[in-house]
């Protein structure tokens, strides 16, 4: 049983529609995982199935939900920039975090870095909105920031 390799390969694929497309074209990309022949065939069947696009959608929805619910005004302020920033954030933080507060704080930390990089013309406003929403979260969760 090489369940660990199977689960890792599946996790990597779910997190990246691009990787799914690459695997559909070239199954040998699975060679970096410890898999037996059945698991390899099983993974390729999963990744090649039309339901895989739904798995990828659910992954992204489940990563977006903690941010949309915890930092709604920040998301509103980012507006059309939000999708680009999410893609960049998810690339930097590939590990999913389903704890709403922790994920919100990770995104806030990322946005602070982006502000420091000069990525936003409205950095001061963004920082102020983030500050208010993180304070709200602290009150809601009854504890101080993890960072």
């Amino acid at each position: 049983m090489s369940l660990d390799g199977f689960q890792r390969a599946l996790a990597d694929a779910v997190a990246s529609p691009q990787r799914c497309l690459e695997l559909r074209r070239d199954g040998s990309l699975l060679e970096k995982y410890d898999l037996n022949d059945r698991e390899r065939r099983r993974l390729l069947a999963i990744i090649g199935h039309e339901g895989m696009s739904h798995n990828c959608t659910l992954y992204r929805a489940n990563r977006l939900t903690p941010l949309a619910r915890s930092l709604p005004r920040t998301c509103d302020l980012l507006g059309d920039r939000l999708m680009h920033e999410l893609e960049e954030f998810w690339a930097r933080e590939p590990n999913t975090e389903v704890q709403f507060k922790l994920e919100a704080e990770r995104f806030a930390h990322y946005l602070s870095e982006r502000c420091n990089e000069g990525a936003f013309g409205d950095a001061d406003q963004l920082a102020a909105v983030l500050c208010v929403e993180l304070s709200d979260l602290d009150r809601q969760f009854g504890l101080d920031s993890h960072f």
């Binding site: 689960q7 599946l10 992954y59 969760f141 009854g142």
Partner: protein, 297 residues
């Protein structure tokens, strides 16, 4: 407090307000314990941080209703080490509220990360039902139940993608696990319905293959469509097919303790209080039919 039997509802932000106005619509409240705390992960020295406001809500409900536990965070099927800290925290929750039914999901949602940390997949996947996984899973379930101090009951998940070349079907796998470990089964009828809508097997075929004497709880819910896929989104009322399944299967589960309605709070405006009352009334009609059947037999 008496046992969590009859008609239940899964706790969310709407439920306390709803039950304040509709006290007698449910017999128990099912709580997802992971919504009551922040979990900083396996490597943290102070891993769990309770959310006081959430515990306050459940404390108040627990004065009126029995509490059942429905975990979403164990990931019993992960190849990473069994999360005994998490199980101990669930045990604490169960002890606090006198919980006598603890359910979890048959599948995995975490994978082993670096240095013993776990990486969350972002969604739950079903387990491949193979012989080697069966014996491995039996050991994990037995260990989990030892820590919990009571049997766990496992819920069938949804399958958006197929698992080919399995040694046995999922009902066969669950039957074997239940026989050997003494765990129970939580039969989620909407998950079966969703699988069928997406090209999977007929729900009744799955049900016929399952030893219904292991079923202690049934979940019912509604769903929605994203693109070409029907999802178990808990998006409001149960579809008619789920009611038909419930009427068919509930009388055949001799140890059934509860029928639980699940809805996501963000969809509540679509259903409203009266819509929610109607779902619970319909579930109760089925439950009362079981009571009459038990009286007869």
């Amino acid at each position: 407090m008496s046992a969590a039997t009859g008609i239940g509802i899964v706790f969310n932000s709407i439920v306390p307000h709803f039950l304040a106005e509709h006290v007698d619509t449910v017999d128990y409240v099912e709580v997802i314990p992971e919504t009551l705390w922040s979990d900083w992960g396996r490597l943290s020295t102070q891993r769990y941080a309770p959310i006081p406001a959430a515990f306050d809500e459940v404390d108040k409900l627990a004065e009126l209703y029995p509490i059942a536990c429905h975990g979403i965070g164990l990931s019993i099927g992960s190849a990473s080490a069994l999360d005994e800290q998490h199980l101990a925290e669930i045990r604490n929750f169960a002890d606090r509220y006198g919980v006598d039914r603890i359910s979890e999901h048959f599948g995995f949602s975490r994978v082993r990360g670096p240095k013993g940390a776990d990486h969350h997949l972002g969604l739950a996947f079903p387990m491949p039902c193979d012989n080697d996984i069966l014996s491995w899973m039996i050991g994990r379930i037995e260990r989990a139940m030892g820590i919990l101090g009571q049997p766990i009951i496992l819920e069938n998940g949804v399958h958006h993608t197929p698992l080919i070349e399995e040694d046995m079907t999922e009902p066969e796998f669950l039957n074997r696990v239940a026989e050997v470990t003494g765990c129970g089964i939580l039969l989620d009828l909407h998950n079966l319905h969703a699988d069928h809508r997406n090209g999977g097997p007929a729900p009744l075929d799955y049900i016929e293959a399952l030893d219904l004497e292991h079923v202690r709880e049934i979940h019912i819910a509604g769903g929605s469509t994203i693109g070409r896929t029907y999802t178990d989104s808990h998006a409001g009322p149960c579809p008619p097919e789920v009611w038909d399944l419930l009427e068919d299967v509930a009388p055949r589960c001799p140890l059934l303790e509860g029928i639980t309605f699940e809805f996501h709070d963000s969809y509540f405006p679509r259903m409203g209080s009266e819509g929610l009352c109607q779902q619970l009334r319909s579930a109760r009609e089925v439950w009362e039919g079981l009571d009459r059947l038990r009286d007869v037999t």
